[in-house]
Symmetry: C2
Subunit: 215 residues, 2 copies
DNA sequence: AATTATTTTTAGACAAATCTAAAAATATAT
DNA sequence: ATATATTTTTAGATTTGTCTAAAAATAATT
């Protein structure tokens, strides 16, 4: 598999797991910042290799084979992210781009040894689950901070958006995975929250609250 | 730079540092297992980028810029090899192929952090020197076991050939970097050596002795 | 139901990296 | 010095992944 094929597969996997249904040509093109015509070309190739089921104009879904391969790429991506943060002490907002490269390194033995070296982590630095070597994903029942009850204690377990901008904002507000949240007030007009973060009062907009997973 | 450009640059660097003079098209083609015509095409590209000095039919040499870039690729290759052996406990004969992939990962910050994480090693698992971040290489005065005096003690500090076959042979004979050698006898007919390896008597052919660096 | 808008696919072009076959330059041998 | 052999370069083709522009299919509106 080429880097390009792997990137398409991973993108289709990510869109599927949030939408659930068939993935459209345009949705792929948008996420990959490429043209729809390029996507169509690649879909034919992936269909030939039986990694996706593709019917003209109908969108695509991954086959079992394609889904497994996609999960293996995600596994590599997230394990490398753990390595970069835990071992090399990269800040969590700088690891994604490097992991985009490392996820294409081909060696099953390497990734399994890396997994052991890291202590078989189940989550990456952004709280996303790491598939195990057979593709199994431990899913946690997570809530968005925006949907949470007042005056109950929650722990931050992940971020929905892991853009550098958002992660740097969280650093500035001293919010990280493991922080405790108690929502004290919800402003009716714009759903802004008044939250105690590790007992420190912080005002959090609805947009921010919509991108923080808690438990 | 593309992977292909990096591989050509590295190959030219390696041939230069053993031969010293201009590198011929055919020498590159042979080492890269490709055709001379493909090499010519790439040489034009590298010359356009001022990474090599190229005159038709005259062979090539690296510019300062090209030489520095080549050393940075070698640096990455060897640091990753150290990581694989020291941290992930790969056997030393399995790391080269994986490092061939990892050497193309682009991030200066990554490689410098990796360097620190590994304790700034000066040599890779095969005894080859690791250029520092400015391209400086600490060179050691090493001898081949085949050229050594009788009844003097030497230490194994590197291998010239690092093919899997040779490294596995050394594992079988329990020879590794740091082993002590005392050559007791040299057979005149074929230069076979009788060597005490860590006080254990071993017969070593001339071909083997020609691929072991000692000090 | 017919028209308009959007999405998707096709057709054809292009850059990168490779190849084969042929031509040109250089090196070797008689 | 001439002929022969080797090395290197060019010419032209191929594969992969991309693009633009146009055509075809599907979806949304009137
Ligand atoms: Mn990521
Ligand atoms: Mn992540
Ligand atoms: Mn190597
Ligand atoms: Mn090495």
């Amino acid at each position: 598999m080429t880097f390009s094929e792997e990137n398409y597969l991973k993108t289709i996997y990510h869109i599927t797991s949030s939408s659930g249904t068939e993935v459209s040509t345009n949705a792929i093109a948008e996420k990959m910042e490429t043209k729809a015509s390029s996507v169509t070309d690649m879909l034919k190739k992936l269909a030939d290799k039986e990694l996706i089921v593709y019917q003209k104009y109908k969108g695509v879904i991954l086959t079992d084979k394609g889904s497994h391969l996609a999960k293996m790429i995600v596994r590599k991506h997230r394990l490398w992210e753990v390595f970069l943060v835990d071992k090399l002490h990269f800040p969590w907002d700088e690891v994604h781009d490097i992991a985009e490269q490392l996820e294409h390194i081909k060696s099953e033995k390497l990734i399994n040894k890396l997994d052991d070296f890291l202590g078989n982590p189940t989550e990456d630095p952004h709280g996303d689950p790491i598939p195990d070597s057979s593709g199994l994903i431990k899913k946690s029942n997570k809530l968005l901070l925006s949907e949470v009850e007042l005056n109950k204690e929650y722990r931050c377990i992940g971020v929905k958006d892991s853009s550098s901008d958002f992660l740097k904002y969280l650093d500035k507000q001293k919010i990280s995975l493991g922080s405790t949240f108690v929502v004290k007030e919800r402003e009716n007009f714009d759903d802004t929250l008044l939250v105690e973060v590790n007992s420190r009062k912080v005002t959090i907009s609805n947009k921010i609250a919509n991108n923080l997973f808690v438990h």
